[in-house]
Amino acid sequence: MVTTRRVPGRFPDTAPVPEVRYVRTVDSPNCTGACGWIATVKEDIIIDLKPAADYPDPEYNPRGCLRGMASTSLIYHPDRIQTPLIRVGQRGEGLWRESSWDEAMDLLAEKFKDISAKYGPESIVFFNQVIGTGNVQKGAQVRLASLFGASYATGYDYNGDISMGYTETVGIDSLESESAAWAEAKTLILWGANVLQTRMPDAKFVLKVQENGGKVIVIDPRASQSVKAADLWLPLIPGTDGILALGVARIILANGWIDSSFIRSFTDLPLLVRMDTGERLRASDLHLGKPDEFVAVLPTSLARGELDKTLRDAAQPFRFVPVSPESLDIEGVEQLALDGIYNVEIEGKPVTVRPAMALLREHLQQEQYSLNNVSQKTGLTPDSILELARSYAQNRPAQIIIGMGVNHRFHGDLVIRSILLLGALTGGFGKPGQSVDIYSGQHHVRFDISPWWYPDGKRPNVVSMHYVIMPEKSPTMNPKIHLPKDGFHALFFSHANIFTTSHVNEWRKIRDKLEFIVAVDYMKTPSTELADLVLPAPTFWEKHELVVTGPHPYIQIQQPVIPPRYQARSELWMMKELAKRLNPEWEAYFEMSAEEVIDYLLANGGPVSAGITLEALKKGPVRLNLPSPDVPLVENIEQRLPLPPRAYPHKEGAQREFLKTGRMEFYKEEESFRTSGEALPTYKEAYSHLSPEELRFPLTFMTPHAKWRVHSTHVNNPWLQNLNRKPVVEIHPQDAQTRQIKDGDLVELFNLYGSFQLWARVTQTIRSGALSVDHGWWSRYLAKGDYNNVLLPERVKTLQETYFLPAVYAPGQLWKDPRVEIRKVK
């Protein structure tokens, strides 16, 4: 373990070994890695980092990546915030006065009280990023916001991590297998997911599929990092993933590669839809049962193999059966009709009804989903599309991993519903190496944290950040969301480069209306530079924390490797200091130490964390009480339990209102879906929501995650800068040539909303018509302009406002939807 010997010369190093100590901890910058590290400390200085490699399942060892390995360059970076800072010049001028903690917290409390008195406590909005990385410390911020009655803006949906296609289909925002399970696949599809770059500690399991004789298919408009692993690369035209998926669905149906048993038990496809209203038939309509129950058709003759034919002969006996959302055990479930036209009477009027499956089949027979048309639209050969369909449906187990390349679009939900359809048609869920999973941020709340976050059951006023920054109020905002009547007047943001990483233009305007901006961070960032008060936090290496993630089932603690540097204090301490100044009675809510909070969280976390203690975690990672392997829906499928899986921290049953059938839903009956023509998964052109002015710009613009950063964390890490020196835009030689752009030229990207300058990288790895710039650069590294100012102004999809459940049902994001042009800078 020890790195204290000098690199060898002619004679061995016989100097005495210095005193060192080793600390095992976990890094958690929101990459979902949650990797364990062993830090070597000599005289309170970290002199080495090595992966801990102590996960009980040896398949996981080691975890880690180049960024964790380079953490010492952030921990000891000259731009660390050393003391509380109070702004003296204009916002953004960079003029600060160092203050004591007392003065800083007095100022903070005074401002909050003042603004709250004038506009109400909900006019102050708290925002901390991806709370799965910080259940204790970030949880303390939520706790304070709850007591105070402040607003709390969810980061997960604002980031675009929320995968509404999942919420709309399975009633929860994502499904994530533990990554070791991927290796069991014989066919593994990376669909808009650059796993070799974005899930580095888990990527080995993708390559393992090939070592075991399986096949890897990569669907991506660029030859991303992951294309190294591809047996088949499908370089489709950006934004056409949805039509590819539905084309494959049609091929699967045409070939009969379906799992009828799965369809009947676990989806809404046998349930009858009324042709007059477009809503589902209710059992109460036929006096068969309750209004929250549905209806399916059970042929009463047990004719072998004829169950799916259209029942034209009125003599063919059948009956209607009620289907409850509380049970998957319907009588005769294995024989339910998946086709046919039936006539019923509802309140004396004749109504035609059909199983949703019949509507789906007809829908997919539209010419646009034919192989020929799909090939034209996607830019893929018919053979390769057939190969995708055949491999997925027949070469099993088959695993799909969906990434943000697909989700970060206005119509991302339609694409994801279409991909999930492939899983549902073929029964592709519930086994290791056979699931349809999506990995975004480290948002997952894997156990019940509400006793710590929501003291005495109080909650903050939760809003989607979209509504904080939208230029105009959304007329269809869900009525559960409450915006302060006089607007937002203060912002408290923590561990978020909020003004840089997205919606730069909107934030500029919003800042003018904010009287007070507070930043909590360990590093000086372009966002902290725009605050009025900056509070120095510790890095992940200087505090206690409790960390969970989606891609693996382990819970781990962070321990302070060294004490907080400079004047940094933990976020928990900050909240205690603020609490007692706002209301002396609130100090009692923050009396526990961070270690005590860890035990408190675990003890009150419900069945998933039951029995796990801080003492155990001090020895290393502990597996949460989850199925083994941790594959989504395995319990639902094996034990025939209705969907959805529970989304913590929401109460049991909170998700029922948007998954009324208790099954995977491919027919959405709500009016908002029907009037949009999206009741069934359908294809909409990715840019169809853009205005004619926005569409004038011909090039699509992608912003994939880079391996050199975690979002914008590490952008100023000199070790990483030594490997990746400047921001470039990837451009195909044809597009470069028509614009007289050569490799290395200074170029400008622009559209209606802004422009920025950087350097061209002419490459064959991207298709013509598309540009790509790695996500997460700070503007100071560009030649000119702000990186994200070409993004489309914030807008939300109306049907994603039909319900609201924070971080589960809320509008997504459209980072990949802007259109731009590029020119050489003279």
Partner: protein, 218 residues
């Protein structure tokens, strides 16, 4: 005994963790990367291939650097590891020119990452002598304590396997045996035709990628 490193290119994900694990372990100055990864793109869209090639000192049996050094400052240990003696080196740079793989680094005015002596960097600078020729040592100082090289223990993809090629029970020999049976792969060396006989060896990647693109149809 023939100590060596095996890089299984099937497993490599091109992440560069090895690159920085080496830097963390050895405290190398700016632009010095004893271990690094070549990131290659070949072909024309849509028939584009990506591959990664991690490289580091090959600890050659017949090392051109040893022969080139006018000061006899480079020597080979009995276990095969080639070491540049940091005290003896005069910084002539003959080894840098002689190495056909470009794996030796020399800069009489070494640059560092932080303007002042940040605590971690201050410690890092104590690992190697300033202004001397330097390269990968297969972490000989760790091997002498029965620890594997830093890049090997840090690779999250399990792509680096170290050990005695001559010992059938070593990790590296075992891995080769399994791969020969399971994936029919035999190890190769870089620039084998030069006769340097490297101790660093490779197994090729498995995927035979084909692309489904229709050219540049819009």
């Amino acid at each position: 005994m023939r100590l060596g490193l095996l890089v299984d290119l099937q497993r490599c994900i091109g992440c560069d963790t090895c690159t920085l694990a080496c830097k963390q372990e050895n405290g190398t100055p700016k632009d010095f990367f004893f271990a690094r990864v070549l990131n290659m793109e070949t072909g024309e869209f849509p028939q584009v291939k990506r591959s990664y090639l991690p490289v580091l000192c090959n600890h050659c049996s017949d090392a051109p650097c040893i022969r080139a050094c006018p000061n006899k400052s480079i020597f080979k240990r009995p276990d095969g590891i080639v070491i540049i003696d940091q005290e003896r080196c005069n910084g002539t740079g003959a080894c840098v020119s002689a190495c056909p793989y470009g794996n030796i680094y020399l800069n009489s005015e070494e640059q560092w990452y932080f303007p002042d002596d940040s605590p971690h960097e201050h410690y890092a600078k104590s690992r190697l002598e300033n202004g001397k020729s330097k390269k990968c040592t297969y972490c000989a100082h760790r091997l002498d304590q029965a620890l594997e090289p830093a890049c090997v223990v840090s690779c999250p993809a399990g792509a680096r396997i170290f050990g005695d090629f001559d010992d059938p029970n070593s990790k590296v020999a075992q891995h080769l045996l399994v791969q020969k049976e399971q994936t029919r792969r035999e190890p190769f060396q870089l620039l084998a035709e030069l006769g340097t006989d490297p101790s660093t060896r490779y197994l090729r990647p498995l995927s035979q990628m084909h692309s489904g693109g229709r050219g540049n149809a819009k």
